[in-house]
Each structure stands twice: as C-alpha cells, then as structure tokens.
C-alpha cells in the first residue's frame, strides 16, 4: 500500500528530479559494480592467459613479458602435446575407465536406491546407513588393501583396478542422491501400479527409472566430474606410462620432454580445462544444482 502511494507521489511531484536520482543511484552502485567486474576478471583472466600461452613458442615464453599476445596463432603446440606428449593416449585411458565405471555405478546404484527407498523391508535402514558411512571415509583408507587384492588377482598392469575402484567409489553418493529423489516420488504411483498387477522389477524399470530419469542424468554428470578429475586413485593404480589417465599424464607431462616446454604444456592444460568447461557451458545450471546436492562429499 505504502509503495503504491510513494510511487504516485514520485510521478506527480518529483518527475524533474528523476533523471538526477537515477544518476545518483548509478554512482552509488559504482563501487560494488567495480567489485563485480574485478571478480569476473579474477575468474576469467587465468583462462585467457593460458589460452593465449598455448599458442606461444618457447622463445616467446622465455623472452616476452606474460601479457603479450602470441606472434602467430600456430597450433603446433597442440600437435606436439598429442604426439610427443602422448595426450591422446591419456584421454583414451580416461574414457576407457571413467565411462564403464560411470555406467556400472549408475546401473547398480539406481537399483539399490530403489530397493532402499521405495520398497519396504526389514534391514533397509541399516544398509542405507552403511552406504552413507562410505561418503565420509577418506580414500586413503581403502587404497592399500585394494592394491593387495588387485596384485593377488593379477589385475595390476591393466585398467581393471581403475574401473572397479571408480565403480565402488561412486556408489555411496549415487545411492544417497538417487534415494533422495525417489523419496520425492509419490508412493501412490507405485501402489497404483501394484494394483494393476505390476511386479517389483517391472515397477522399477517402467516407473522408477523413467520418473527419476532427470535425476539419474544429474547424478551421472556429478560423478563424471569426480571420476574424470580423480588423481588419488589413478595415481595409485597406474604403475606404467601406458595406463596413465589424463590427470596422471598431465601431472607427469613435463617429464616427457626433459626440460619444460611451455607451449605444449599450456596446450595440454588447455585441452584438459576446456574439455570440462565445454560440458559446463552447456549444462551449467544442472551441474551447479547437482554438485550442490552432492556437497556431502566435501
């Protein structure tokens, strides 16, 4: 009510002063606007710098100041990062481990979440708690026994240890998040399906999965970032150069050249950064929501 009256008075009496008011307001907001601009520069500048750097030659790195533009837009550094730096092979290893693990963890995790949240049976609370406990335990706690297990099974020297460990490491969060989404589904849907004569497996497949389809995609996206960016597990189980994932490869990247070759290094960093960035550009709202929901992982 007061707002309406104020507005009326504004229009009637103070119209000549309106332009000046706007200028004053703009001026008052100026310091904070500068803060926002500074914030955006802090976020974006490092990426611009690394992108420009990826086109520079070794000579430009050593002799030109950091803010200069590259003298030519030569993609030679990228070619070198893939040939001498073996970047393509590392990316392939990452794809070969992350995607199978992602698929497995989602498949068995969603089924488990359905059984633990929708179905009613004795002991489900305990098992759900058991899964949740896994979120807090540091990865270091399981690495050594796993190393022994894989060693004794003769899996060392293959990508299997990575796939298996990734699958298990993604499970607690997947079960926790998907169970949360199932909780929001009205129980009547499943009860009605039961009256229509659908069995549990049928309900899981024809109702449960489609209803939380979006959630599964979000959880998959979150897990993808966790697995793709993993260093600890990859560092533990990649005992030869052949098995390195992109993170381990990038960590040892300068070793491929003997002395630091800045151009190829910057190009490799760019490939690694802009790959995930592209995904984020298209799906940013979903990624933000998903990662916030998965924040229990710390």
């Amino acid at each position: 009510m007061t707002a309406v009256i104020d507005l009326g008075r504004d229009a009637a009496i103070e119209r000549p002063a309106k332009d000046r008011n706007r200028a004053v307001r703009l001026l008052r907001r100026l310091p904070m606007n500068l803060v926002v601009v500074l914030l955006l520069i802090i976020e974006i500048y490092p990426l611009v710098w690394i992108l420009l750097g990826s086109f520079k030659t070794q000579d430009e790195f050593l002799n030109d100041p950091f803010w200069t533009l590259p003298r030519s837009w030569d993609v030679g550094n990228y070619a070198s990062a893939f040939s001498t730096g073996n970047l393509g092979h590392y990316i392939l290893n990452s794809i070969l481990t992350v995607f199978p693990a992602l698929f497995l963890t989602l498949a068995i995790g969603v089924a488990a979440a359905f059984a633990l949240e929708v179905l009613v049976w004795k002991g489900r609370g305990t098992i759900l708690l058991l899964f949740l406990a896994g979120i807090m335990v540091p990865g270091q706690m399981v690495l050594l026994p796993l190393f022994s297990i894989y060693f004794n099974l003769g899996l060392t020297g293959t990508l299997w240890p990575l796939i298996i460990t990734y699958t298990a490491s993604g499970l607690p969060l997947t079960v926790f998040m998907v169970a949360t989404y199932f909780r929001a589904v009205p129980r009547e849907m499943f009860e009605a399906a039961t009256l229509d004569g659908a069995g549990v497996i049928r309900q899981f497949w024809s109702i449960g999965v489609p209803v939380v389809r979006n959630a599964i995609f979000t959880v998959g996206l979150v897990q993808f970032f966790f697995l793709w960016n993993d260093l600890l597990i990859a560092l533990t189980f990649t005992n030869s150069e052949d098995l390195r994932t992109i993170q381990v490869g990038l960590l040892n990247f300068t070793g491929q050249y003997g002395q630091i070759q800045y151009g190829p290094l910057f190009a490799a960093i760019c490939v690694s950064i802009f790959g995930t960035l592209l995904l984020y550009l298209f799906l940013n709202q979903r990624v933000m929501k998903g990662l916030a929901a998965g924040s229990v992982k710390g």
């Binding site: 976020e43 690394i50 750097g53 790195f61 089924a111 270091q140 706690m141 960093i269 940013n284």
Partner: protein, 294 residues
Amino acid sequence: MNSVLGSRRTALLLVGPALLVYTAITLIPILWSFGYTFFSGGLISGFTFVGVKNFQTFFTDPNAWNALGFTLRYAIIVTIGQVAVGYLLALLYVFFLRRASSFVRTVVFFPVVLPTVAVSLLFQRMFQLAPQPGPANALIHAFGGAGTDFLGHADSAFWVLIVMDIWRSMGFYAVLLFAGLVDIPDEIIESARLDGAGGWSLVRRIILPLSAPVLLSSIIFSINGTLKVFDSVVALTNGGPGNATTPLTLYMFQTAFTYGDYGYGSTIALMLTILCLLVTVFIFRGSRRDVTKA
C-alpha cells in the same frame, strides 16, 4: 499390496549387486586396512606383527606431527576462507545483483569443475619467477617490488595453495549459501528494514542467524573436504619445498608407496579418518551449544 512392495527377495535382488561391490571394494578394505595398522612391512617385504608400535611411532614421528600440523592449518584457513568468501558472494548475489546474478554465479562457479591438476599447473606458471616472471611476479615488479620464488619457500607456497583452493571453490560455496539465503522469507527482511535495520546490522542480526544452519553444513562439508586435501598439493607443490606442505594424505601415500610400509601408512590413514570424525562431531556439538544459549 504390501506383499509386492514388501518382497524381501526382490529387494535383495535389486540391492545385491551394489551391496556386493561396495562390501568387497570399500567395507572389507576398511577393516583390512585397520588390520594392517598392527603390522609392519608391505607387499614386497612381507608383513610382521608389531602390535601397537605403529601408533607409538605416529605420536613420536616429527614428520607425522608436521603433516598433522599442516593438515589442520590448511583445513582451518581454507574452510574459513571458502565459507567466508562464499558467504560474501552469496550476499552479493542476493542483495546487490538480485535477478541479474545468474550470469555472475555461473562464471564464479566454473573453476569447481576444472581438473585440479590442470588448475595447479596453471597456478605454478602464474606464480613462477624464472625463467620469465608470471603474472603475479610481473605485477609485483610493476609496483617496484622484488619478485619472489613463491613455490620455493615454505610460507609463500602455503599461501599460493590457499589462494588457489579458495579461487577454485568459492563459487561452489557461494551457490550453496545462496540457496540458503534465498530461502529466507522476504517478509522477515522487509519488516526488519521497516524497523530500521539496514546494511550491516540487517546482516548481523537477521540474515546471519537465519542462515546459520546452511552455514554450519557448509563448514562441515568444507572441513571434511579440506582435511582430505591431496590433489591440489600433489600437483602444485608435491609437498615441498622439503616437506613443508605435506598433508597427512600425502604423507600416507609416500609412506606406503615410496617407502613400502603398508602398516604405518594404514595407521596414518586411520588417524586421518578419526580426525575427520572428531572434527565433525566437535562442530556439531559446538553448534548445538550455541543454539541453546541463544
């Protein structure tokens, strides 16, 4: 009806594969690792039972104390930094940018999804001195200062690590806290304004208490994540110079894989797990006391 949704056999069928994988690859290894703490040696040298000697070693090992001290210092500073900067950003989104905040939120969030290794290498180059000063040192030169080999000294390396990890994660905590701030009903803020609260006192007396729950969970998430810091240390400093920036996680990794001592490595991992639990419980209890006091 309940007999269908309540069928235990089918439930076990659905939960079975996940439970099997989880038990074999997580639960059993945790117990196994606990067992290792009573042994010394490793896969190559073989294991010998040593009782509680590993725990005695841990409490008298200067390297372990050093790692523990670094872990705590790092976790406390980064947690405060992440949550404080995140909170300021969230306030900026809600009260200054308002409807227009979506773009800024998205931009500030993106470092979260970037691979830690790539970000660390990027920061190494930004803070390098030789052969060609990076942006940080060039800026210092421009203001007439002498350049520093940031990652070559224990103190400055520590702070580069802190700056990097806050840069990486502030957008994440901003979004988390933003969600909490948006949930505060407009009427409460509006009526506080009518009562004459504005600016700082509005934040301190109204908004801060109302966002306490989401702040608390942010702090718990943050401290649990930062106590386990590994990737950014390994990629940025690899624990150096010397062992000045070696957290418990990295010390455990080196003990087990560089020196081949699984028993002592497991002991360090167990200590870290206990530390995470203790800190979480401690924060929970501390916050409960505050609530009852108010």
